[in-house]
Amino acid sequence: MMARRYALPAAGILTLLLAWELYIRVFNVPHYLVPAPSLIGRTLVEEWPTIQRNVGRTLVEAVGGFLLGNGFAVALAIWFVHSPAVQRTLYPVAVAIRTVHIIAIAPILVLLLGNGYAPKVVIAALISFFPTLVNMVRGLEAVEPSALELMRVLSANRRQVFFKLRLPSSLPFLFSALKIATASCVIGAIVAEWVGADTGLGYLIIVATFEFRTGLLYATTAVGSFLALAFFLAVVVLEKVVVRWKPETLPP
């Protein structure tokens, strides 16, 4: 069971890396165009101090944006569910924000907020904000009509309906949004660093590209990918701890 679960995916990845390595060696592909996995691995070890210095920065920006964007989305969703007028007023604004592409808005935010953490955190927040808002509103509204009737019969007040019914039933929806947000926050932070930064994985990608240090470029990209994966797994673990029941209505 365990062997099948882990051995087969591992074999798949290893085969891919081996094929890549062989192709580079057999056809003598220059390493500044596409580096072999062995070279990427060596660069990862040799350049680790550089990468480590930059990865911390990106992690802080991604996590900061994650907390800011999702926190804001959850708060707004709660407000929407309690006030249809607010929902009708602000939902179009949220959609409008969604239509502005992140790469287009990044330079504007760097101009507005400077070269530090602020524009990166805001961009990472923006990228995760909308999916969480939509899912959270759906989750809070996805309450069985009979469950609301039960709350009525029990004479529950609005606070009790929210904390004992709406909030718990929204959690599976919230977590499915948070899992999407982990990867997009890392992407948001990296894209923001392209526009203007002196540290961070995005900055390192730009520098490595201009200096034709292709090994470093690939190593940095791999680290960014692992960062997003680790972040995703952390949220999966959190979900396992918080959502211990089988939801009746499954989020999409």
């Binding site: 069985e144 009979s146 469950a147 009737e149 039960l150 709350m151 009525r152 019969v153 029990l154 004479s155 529950a156 009790q160 004992k164 019914l165 718990p168 039933s169 959690l171 959502v243 211990r244 029941w245 089988k246 939801p247 009746e248």
Partner: protein, 271 residues
């Protein structure tokens, strides 16, 4: 039994009706105009009586139950539960309600689900022992830590019944509680419900679309006609208690279900 006699205390004169419905009508306003769901409905249910509302889908029987429970407000007529308006009775927890789907909260264990009404009323801690007694009464002792997804449909309805009883209501309102269960489980649950009814001494208003179920359970059956809903026939059930499933094979039982079937058949005919 520790739960015997619960719910008999309460407001009102001893001979007052547990549920009184007088000339009640209900008109829903819909985008395509007003829809009359119920008109001139009147009934009086005595304390500790078991009465069923029987009728085809859309006859307004669930609507009538929701009017009694103050989930909906009638557009005409008067309702009293335990001698009080439904809104007051609801806040004083005079009645419990059992839905067709159990409406258990999936993130709560069996015991936590049963304790929900007390938690909302603001005193959950001291009644834990009582909730366990009720789980014993509905035959679910030992399942208090189980979650709804681990229980069968019949077990979930048992939890829902325990939850409805935990506030010691004088009246139990049941909206097709066994409608989604298979035949065998349903017969079993009918038998259990009679036992619980005897043990607790509550008044039960039971909505169903099954004539045999109504006859087996009830002291009286009220047949509702459709469009608009109104009480069409009142049939006292002259079968002795306690009843066991063997009663279903008697001529008397067949005579009662036949009478109900005729009333319902007349209802199904296009007018």
């Amino acid at each position: 039994m520790s739960t015997a006699g619960r719910g008999v205390s309460g407001a009102g004169a001893p001979d007052a009706a547990a549920i009184l419905v007088e000339g009640v009508g209900m008109t829903f306003s819909t985008p395509s105009g007003p829809v009359q769901a119920l008109t001139g409905a009147s009934l009086a249910i005595k304390p500790r009586e078991f009465v069923s509302l029987l009728g085809p889908s859309g006859c307004g029987k669930s609507t009538l139950l929701r009017l009694v429970a103050d989930i909906l407000a009638p557009t005409e007529g008067r309702i009293e539960v335990g001698g009080e308006p439904p809104g007051v009775a609801r806040r004083r927890r005079v009645f419990g309600f059992v839905f067709q789907d159990s409406t258990l909260l999936p993130w709560r264990s069996t015991l936590q689900n049963v304790l929900l009404p007390l938690e909302i009323g603001g005193h959950a801690r001291r009644d834990r022992a009582e909730a366990l007694d009720l789980l014993e009464l509905v035959g679910l002792r030992g399942f208090e830590a189980a979650y709804p997804w681990q229980l069968s449909g019949g077990m979930r309805q048992r939890v829902a019944i325990a939850r409805a009883l935990v506030t010691r209501p004088q009246v139990l309102l049941m909206d097709e509680p066994f409608g989604a269960l298979d035949e065998i489980t349903r017969e079993n649950m009918n038998q259990e419900l009679l036992r619980i009814w005897q043990a607790t001494g509550t008044t039960i208003l039971f909505v169903t679309h099954s004539s045999p179920e109504a006859v087996f359970l009830s002291d009286r059956v009220l047949v509702l006609g459709a469009r608009p809903g109104r009480v069409k026939l009142e049939l006292p059930i002259a079968l002795s208690r306690p009843r066991d499933p063997a009663v279903k094979e008697t001529v008397e039982f067949a005579r009662h279900t036949a009478a109900l079937r005729r009333a319902l058949a007349g209802e199904a005919r296009p007018e």
